[in-house]
């Protein structure tokens, strides 16, 4: 090995840097967020809890394709209750207040799904559509001019 001193020191620094985040956060476990559960009336979700937790996004994607592409709008039946295959009219029908359910966990997991660019929480319409993006307005209209 050429110049072992340098290499070993660099390696130690490198490994130290890589592990820094883990060492720094030892014992600082962040509690998973507390999610607002739907009413007692809706006890079971459309899939077993573990499954829906791990792959609800896959299910929603599949629903989308079934509904839009195949035109299969049959409702899902669980315990005699019927649920629409829809995010806005299905999931959010029971999980009212997306801020206290979807958002809390997505923030915790640091994911930002773009569902909410188009879909919205029916119970929070006013919040979602509050006039706010006046800044981006200028930008939008200028880019428009360029294209024309």
């Amino acid at each position: 090995m050429y110049n072992p001193g340098r290499i070993i020191i660099s390696l130690v620094i490198f490994v130290g840097l890589m592990l820094f985040a883990f060492i720094y956060n030892i014992g600082n476990e962040k509690e998973p967020p507390e999610l607002k559960k739907p009413d007692k009336k809706y006890e079971n979700c459309v899939e077993p809890l573990e499954e829906i937790r791990a792959s609800h996004m896959v299910l929603i994607d599949e629903w989308r394709d079934e509904v839009i592409r195949e035109g299969n709008r049959k409702k899902v039946e669980i315990d005699g209750e019927f649920y629409e295959r829809s995010l806005q009219n299905g999931c959010l029908h029971c999980h009212k207040e997306k801020e206290k359910f979807c958002d809390r966990c997505h923030d915790y997991a640091s994911v930002s799904p773009y569902c909410w660019d188009c879909h919205f929480d029916p119970s929070a319409v006013d919040k979602t559509f509050l006039p706010s993006e006046n800044g981006s307005e200028e930008e939008a209209s200028t880019s428009h001019e360029e294209v024309h």
Binding site: R64, I68, R69, E70, G71, R73, Q88, N89, Y114, D117, C118, H119, F120, P122, V125, T128, F129, P131, S132, E133, N134, S136, E137, A140, S141, S143, H144, H148
Partner: protein, 280 residues
């Protein structure tokens, strides 16, 4: 195994001949077939005239609509009511700017709706008429052919649908559509201008779109399975100014109307085979 040069050359020669000959032969067969079907297609179009052909979709259905312009003319305000019913439900934004306008259902003057029909010496009444136009849900939709992501497609009931999730905003479909039935969201529909939101009253049951997405009429595909007519047809009430139904069902009301009345389609010569018919 004897590998003589003579034998090798023989096999190589035969293989080469087969390799060159087989595709050419196949091509000839296929080519003849393709030519034949092309010819047939042309013949059919000519026979079907401007009403297109009875091509069956996967479910055998082909939804269509008859719009009675005379009834709309006799019921002033009805067209606006239909547009309002559609746009308010589907969260269609109003950007307050003609260039950025989003249209699912809108009115057009006769000359613009039917440019192929001569207006020479036609009555000023016809010229002044507002004619309701919307996506024609063509049987041969050019927008579907050009969409690079299959965001727009023809569904099993013959409806030209859009999957907004897949739309990348390339606007090929807008260039392809000869009816101007597609609109592009140049701005965020959820935004506002001068504190006036683009969607004045949001409908909880339907999503909005995002900036950079094309949108258009969907024939209310989400309502049809429950046996309901599209919102615009419902807004017409008992006036029967709009009749919706399955063009492939000989017993349907729309077919009875089409059989008994003279109807025209928009730009029939383009061969898109529109599913919207107009009683003039």
């Amino acid at each position: 195994m004897d590998k003589t040069r003579r034998k090798f050359l023989k096999i190589a020669g035969l293989s080469a001949a087969a390799g060159v000959g087989a595709p050419a032969g196949l091509d000839m067969l296929l080519g003849r077939k393709a030519g034949a079907s092309d010819h047939g297609g042309g013949g059919q179009a000519a026979q079907g005239g401007e009403h297109g052909t009875d091509v069956k979709s996967a479910t055998g259905k082909r939804y269509g609509m008859v719009i009675d312009i005379v009834k709309f003319h006799n019921n002033p305000g009805l067209a606006e009511k239909c547009v309002e019913a559609c746009h308010s439900y589907h969260n269609v934004p109003d950007f307050g700017n003609k260039k950025d306008e989003i249209k699912w259902l809108w009115t057009e003057k006769y000359a613009n709706a039917f440019p192929e029909h001569s207006q020479y010496k036609s009555s000023s009444e016809i010229k002044a008429m507002d004619i309701l136009v919307l996506c024609n849900h063509c049987d041969n939709p050019p927008c579907v052919q050009v969409c690079p992501t299959k965001a727009t497609f023809k569904n099993e009931d013959g409806i030209v649908m859009m999957d907004f999730h897949r739309c990348i905003g390339c606007r090929f479909c807008m260039a392809a559509c000869p009816y101007g039935s597609r609109s592009f969201n140049w701005r965020d529909p959820r935004g506002s201008k001068n504190d006036k939101p683009f969607i004045e009253k949001v409908n909880d049951d339907f999503p909005t779109r995002m900036r950079g997405v094309v949108e258009k009429c969907s024939f209310c595909a989400w309502r049809l399975p429950s046996g309901k007519d599209p919102l615009c047809v419902e807004a017409c009430g008992d006036t029967k100014a709009m009749i919706f139904g399955d063009l492939n069902d000989p017993g349907s009301e729309i077919n009875q109307v089409l059989k008994s009345r003279f109807t025209i389609q928009r730009k029939p010569s383009l061969g898109t085979k529109p599913s919207i018919f107009y009683i003039i």
